[in-house]
């Protein structure tokens, strides 16, 4: 029961930072428990890519192949992972907090009669009883939660642990599984995906606009700032509710919860629900005309001023900075 299994999610055959973070985290728990960290990859991933999981402490990578595993079906994914946990007699199963993790991890937990904790914010504070730190009420309080089941299923909050290099030559074990066709009742009939954009959940820097941007046609300077910094674009709830921007850009309690290194809030007053979605950002910069706006209480740096006036100046200053550094 001292083995840790980590779900190594791939995106079109590539692993992302969140996967490496989960492997780093799982490897550290395995070390604490005196066990081994095993990453499990589902679907088509090249050997060289599988090997990269060893850089973060996975001593074994189980690569499960089946034609049906290239597309997410929560039931099929959960069965494959739960079967592996049983086969390896693992005690802990680690997921990220991605959409796929949210789809699959709860089903794995039920299959294993295991407790589950989502959005864990760090290493166990104790192994016996197995106690984990977690934010609740979207960061308005911190809590410690005890897991009483034999197997424990954990989902790690993004950017809460970080990636930790710990190079091991991972052994690759390839497994073919036959998935019962009756199990799969979902079918992807179309995919719409923008390419080339920095994705909100992956971004190190996020630039966000609120109602203080005044109208949807005033977004160009914000887009320019995002381009200069290689940042993703986001917005507040009123902006997405009014259709100024797509709901996929909405960050806040009911939209996306993000934790970038740097978050810029332009013309966002900082309603408690908005701050709940961004308060895990390492550094927050706020620009708002109202010096009493609550966003300044959450910000590290602030400018009292109109976003429309500040943005062009900031863009110019950053361009100059980038050209000199």
């Amino acid at each position: 029961m001292n083995k840790v299994i980590i779900f190594a999610e791939n995106f079109d055959g590539q692993f992302k930072k969140a996967t490496f973070e989960a492997v780093s985290y799982g490897a550290r728990i395995a070390e604490q428990m005196g066990g081994e960290a095993i990453a499990v990859s589902l679907g088509e991933v090249a050997d060289a890519e599988l090997m990269t999981l060893g850089n973060y402490g996975a001593s074994k990578v189980v690569a499960v192949h089946s034609d049906t595993l290239n597309t997410l079906d929560a039931r099929a994914f959960a069965k494959v992972i739960a079967d592996l946990v049983v086969k390896e007699s693992a005690g802990v199963v680690v997921f990220t907090s991605s959409n796929a993790s949210k789809a699959v991890a709860p089903r794995v937990a039920v299959r294993l009669n295991a407790g589950i904790v989502f959005g864990v914010s760090g290493l166990p504070v104790s192994l016996s009883p197995f106690t984990l730190p977690k934010k609740v009420y979207h960061g308005k309080a911190f809590a410690e939660v005890v897991m009483k089941s034999g197997v424990k299923v954990i989902s790690l909050a993004q950017n809460s642990f970080g990636v930790a290099e710990n190079r091991i030559a991972a052994a690759i074990e390839k497994v073919e599984v036959a998935i019962d066709a009756d199990l799969i009742k979902t079918k992807v009939v179309n995919v719409e995906k923008s390419t080339g954009k920095v994705l909100l959940n992956d971004a190190e820097i996020v630039v966000s606009g609120g109602r203080g941007m005044k109208s949807p046609d005033k977004w160009q300077p914000l887009e320019e700032l995002a381009e200069i910094l290689g940042a993703a674009l986001a917005c507040s709830r009123p902006v997405s509710d009014e259709g100024w921007r797509s709901h996929s850009e909405h960050v806040g309690q009911t939209g996306k919860i993000i934790a970038p290194n740097l978050y810029f809030a332009f013309g966002i007053s900082g309603a408690i629900q908005h701050l709940a979605g961004v308060s895990s950002s390492k550094v927050i910069v706020a620009v708002n005309t109202d010096k009493e706006a609550p966003v300044f209480s959450a910000a590290d740096y602030g400018i009292v001023g109109d976003a429309a006036a500040v943005l062009p100046r900031l863009n110019a200053a950053l361009k100059k900075f980038k050209s000199e550094n």
Binding site: L72, A74, R75, N99, K102, A103, V104, A105, P106, V110, R111, G115, I116, F118, G119, T131, V136, Y137, H138, G139, K140, A141, F142, A143, V145, V146, K148, S149, K185, T186, K187, V188, V191, E192, K193, T195, D202, S240, D241, H247, T254, G255, K256, L262, I272, Q273, V283, V285, F296, S297, A299, D300, Y301, G302, I303, V304, V310, L314, A317, N325
Partner: protein, 249 residues
């Protein structure tokens, strides 16, 4: 066709959250209770589908696992337009316990579509919906931002990084829904509130089970250091601070 929506009774999202003096609970005195925001959007979408021309939806039920304190929230869901309600009379201990209780309560009830919000705004668990699907041995689709019924077929948009997939799923199924599923939650009308008083609310007792996780202690986040203000005319200083002090660019 029958739709079931699982709803959570949660503190209003504007509530200031304070741990109790001994740190073993959250102080919930004087809290305003609401329908969990995503569950409310799921209910809104179900009503839109029921009201659409040619709709084959004959019933929308809301279900909650909760003690009597949850009843005003259930009545609100009925006032918004649900036809009837089920309350499993138990404290929703954890995701595992709650999902198990829902699956027990739904045995033999034959709902075609079961909708759950992506998480509850209090414990941010993100697990009950998919756990319910596994307990019931049903397919589930998570991260759903759109749900359309076309004849007998159901099409869902499943959010993925940078876009979405259109997923077809066979009924019965569980959809775990998020932002986008409906635009704005509905506000109950006076007539709705009057009608809600007489709509059926069935209370069922829980099945034997124990939660597998327990919250033991709570603390407040450390207050943040004061915001450092930079003059609007001097954005170069901000760039300098982000580079040399925060070391972030």
């Amino acid at each position: 066709m029958k739709i079931l929506i699982c709803i959570s009774n949660v503190p209003d999202t504007t509530t200031k959250i304070k741990p109790s003096a001994d740190g073993k609970a959250i102080d919930l005195a004087n809290v305003q209770w609401i329908i969990n925001p995503w569950d409310e959007l799921a209910l809104t979408r179900a009503l839109e589908l029921k009201e659409a021309p040619g709709s084959k939806i004959e019933k929308i039920t809301v279900l909650t696992v909760g003690d009597k304190i949850a009843e005003p929230t259930i009545r609100k869901a009925l006032a918004i337009g649900a036809d009837d309600a089920i309350r499993v009379n138990a404290d929703p201990g954890d995701n595992y316990f709650t999902a198990f209780q829902i699956s027990e309560a739904l045995k033999n009830l034959n709902y075609d579509i079961i909708l759950c919000g992506i998480e509850s705004s209090d414990y941010n668990g993100s697990a009950t919906g998919a756990m319910l699907a596994e307990f019931m041995d049903l397919p589930s689709v998570s991260s759903v931002s759109k749900l359309e019924i076309e004849g007998d077929a159901v099409k869902l948009n499943r959010e993925i990084p940078g876009g979405f997939e259109v997923v077809e799923v066979a009924k019965p199924f569980v959809a775990i829904v998020q932002k986008g599923i409906a635009k704005e939650p509905r506000i109950p009308s006076m007539r709705g509130i009057m009608m809600a008083r007489t709509k059926p609310l069935q209370v069922v007792e829980p099945s034997p089970a124990e939660p597998l996780t327990a919250f033991e202690s709570y603390s407040s986040p450390k207050p943040k250091a004061a915001c450092r203000l930079v003059d609007a005319e001097n954005v170069e200083e901000l760039v300098n601070l982000l580079h040399n002090e925060a070391r972030i660019i």
